[in-house]
């Protein structure tokens, strides 16, 4: 049996959600689906429109562009978090390196949730703004370094 509480703790690893109160994340946890892929299955294809975000629960996956390996991801790591907020084409493919179990959040369900809980949307906007500010600071630092 999958505990909602554990799903919430998994969500805390997603950078968009890390600063959100757990009570709010409970609503996100409710719309999380569960999926399993056998070793070798390519479950995300480069160029497809992204509609879901995945959190690896168990097993290992690889992010690749054709034969070129970009990264290996393990439990707790995230694939495609921005897909939740905007429909963008996948920039790389993702395949299972072993039998994997993932949590999955569909964009459509996530937008329904934001409609029902606008407070959650406000919190996410705030997180994104903080990120922009941090990036701007980073750019400033880099520029001054040059």
């Amino acid at each position: 049996m999958e505990f909602l509480i554990d799903k919430v703790f998994s969500l805390k690893a997603v950078s968009v959600f890390e600063k959100l109160p757990e009570a709010s994340l409970l609503d996100v946890a409710r719309i999380m689906d569960y999926d399993e892929f056998k070793k070798g299955v390519e479950f995300i294809r480069k160029g497809e429109m992204a509609g879901e975000m995945y959190i690896v629960k168990s097993g290992e996956v690889k992010v690749h562009d054709g034969e070129h390996l970009l990264a290996k991801l393990g439990p707790g790591e995230i694939v495609g978090e921005l897909a939740l907020l905007t429909p963008i084409p996948r920039t790389a493919s993702v395949s299972a390196l072993s039998d994997v179990v993932v949590y999955k959040i569909g964009r459509e369900h996530f937008l329904d949730l934001l409609y029902e809980k606008p407070e959650l949307m406000n919190e996410i906007i705030e997180v994104l703004i903080q990120r922009i500010i941090a990036l701007n600071d980073e750019i400033k630092k880099l520029k001054s370094g040059q």
């Binding site: 049996m1 909602l4 509480i5 757990e22 009570a23 937008l111 329904d112 409609y115 407070e119």
Partner: protein, 911 residues
Amino acid sequence: MTYSGVLRFFQIKGAEVPTFLNMLGHSFFNALAIAFSFTAINVLLVEMNGIENLPYIYLLGGFLMLITGRIYSSLESSLPPQRLFTLVLLFCMGWAIVARSADLVQNTLLFVSFLYALYLVIYQLSNLEFWGVASLLYDVRQSKRLFGMLTTGESVAKILGYMATPLIVTWFSVYDLFLCAAVAFLISLFFFYRLARLNKEGLKVAHHHDEDHEKKSGSWLSVFRISDPFLRITGLFALLAVLVYYFVHYTFLNRVEVHFREAEELAYFFGLFFSFGTFLNLANRLLVFNRLFKMLRIGNMILILPAFLAAFTLAGLVGMVFIEDPLYYMLWVFGLIMLFDEILRSSLHLPSFFVLFQPLSKHKRLEGHTLAKGRMEPLGMLMAGGVMLALIWFGVFTIQSIIVCLAVAVILWILIGVKVSGMYGELVRFMLKNRLLTSRNLDFSKEELGAIGGEVSASTDPVNLLYRLKVMGPSLPDQERKDMLVRLLSDENPLILKEALALAGEFRDERMVPYARELAAHENLEVSSKAVFLLCSFLEDDAVEELEEDIRQSTGERKEQLVAAVLKYSGIVGATTYGSALMGKARSGTIEDRITAARVIGLVGLRDYYHPLAKLLRDSDREVRRAAIAATATVKNEKLIPILFEIVISGDLFREASRAIASFGKEAIPHLVMELKKSYDNRIHQRLLKIAGHIHLPGSLRMLVSELLATDPGTRSVAISGIYYSGESISGAEVRDKVDHLLDLESRYFDVLVAQLLYSLAEDDDRLRRSLLSELDLQRDRVLKIAGLWYGRKLIQRVSDNLRSADRNLAVNAIELLENRLVRRDAARVIPVVEFSLETLYDWKKSHHNYKKDQGIEALFPNGCVCASEWLIALMVRIYRERDIELPRDIIPRLEEIESEAVMAELNAKN
């Protein structure tokens, strides 16, 4: 002429007839009552030689107006409008009944003087009542169509009332005029009740107000603290207008007193004089002033009355000096001054004066109106009384000295008027140059278009042209408008083209047909779509033939647009040519065809497409249903609403369906009320309530208010958010009680949550500690929103922004803001929650000696309520399980009652 022809002629829509007729009856009898009261009180005062009491009457009247204005403002925010307006009408009626018994009072003159001062208040209140009712019942567009008729009805009532007074006084007595007034007020009340029955939603809901409203009801001394120079000068201008009016009023009544003694004589004189004045007023309003408004600029319009009065006052002064026996001459001069003052003031001066505020922001406009209408009237009256008392004090209180005062006031009025006019011109020029005006609220006269518009449009920048067309379009000369449209329609930027096409449609300029034809083939689909619709709207039946080839050759979205435009504008010809094909697609077995049908129906946007759309809304395919839901927003047939509710309840596509329902506005409310009465689970109930939050009408707001104390915290939260995000603050005793109750609840929860932080479980478990802190964060937002229901969103937004800022001074400022604006009891419940942080934990501990150190899960259920999120409760259950702490027996049933999946999962795992 048929019934519908009559309605068309008067620009009344069928559904508006009952409300309009009752409103007409209400305003008609109100005006009749005022006409009777006004004549009667003037006749009595003059007959008793009471004109010398007028300075005291002005002083008392001004003072009473200040008091009643204040009471009215506070009642406005605590009583539902229906009760407030009933009270006003009863007060007016009571005054008339008391006035009827004036002949029984011993010192009648003193009593009549008092009644006169009260009449000035009654007049103000009845105006407030009428405009209050009108503003609640009609929106801006309806006002423009219907107010002309309502005020004409009012003028007719006054003419009849004034003309009837001599007859009533001859057959009965002056005192019986008051009885007639009381009866007229009673009939007016009767019509008001019928109005209230017809418009339950509009008149029964508690009055909504925002921060501006608080300013409106603030101290009248605030007139001395106006920071905006334009408002300051217009305020002074308004004050002088009132002062001049009372000087004219005094001199006129003084002259009348010299000439007429008998009540009957006076009744004849006043009756005929004012009915003639009202008649002239009405005729001029209909025939002359509208044209003047179109010709002259507002800055000059406001100078007409002062200039007119200056000329007549000068004539009065000349007569006073050079004519040997000026009695008759003076009566004529001041009679004419009074007459034209009445006419020009109500139909020319005041309307153009209030236009002065239109370029200002909503907040400043309200401030300007309140200043001119609410504050300057009593202040001017007090000042007039004060000046006259001063003259009495110095022993120079004669008609001559009053005329001199009048002359000085009029000269000052003109000087200030010239300044106002100049500042207004600068203001409009600035607003236009900086594109700060965003609506067409301003009607520009020819003079203004020449002086200001020319300067602004000197630039050839298409954005400037577009702006000028948008804001000044209806006032522009035909040829100039055409030239501008042609220039814009030849632009390359699709955004400009789209806007220009929309404007060409709005101005119905047929000369744009060739341009629309050309743009119909534009590569940008949005541009071509607008052009095709515009073209078809001009071509009507001929569009079928003209676009036939295009439709045959086109595909996809382009084809959908062309067919939809023809179906929309080509009437029966379009329907016979493409209607059956559309129906065929709607019934087709192919999903794509059905989606196309739904989209075309949406583009056509005609109510008649109910049947196919209803079928598509129940389609087995999700994407077809999605396209059909989108189409309901333009088809707007209320018969579709129940199907949309079915979708909301089913869950799939509920977001789209909820938005579609909310777009129906008022029509959706009865359906929503019905659905909310059904017993759905909390999640669906909240979903329905959320739709109410998106409608933003008094009726939907009432639904949210009624759920503020729902037992389910989620439902409460939806209701609070719905009201909060609607931007309305609510008032009324019932709502105050609910806000009180919610704040009490939150205050108790706050103590429980903080006590948990000090409990050993939280001290040992970082997850719990973090969760409690984030729970307190969430509570801070919730408490602020609850306060926002009463104190307005603006204040709370400011507080929240300051609290979020990294600047500590701003956070301190936020707390100060709350301390200053919240009443003490509310501040005591809100501020501790808002300023809570780990640093303040020690302070809390000191002030709560009795808090139990043995907190734990049972403390989350104080007095049978649940005071924590299901997350916190679930986490506590898990921690108990992990640490092998046994859950108290009586807590388990309570945990089960929460019906939370998360809690139940933890509970079952333990068991």
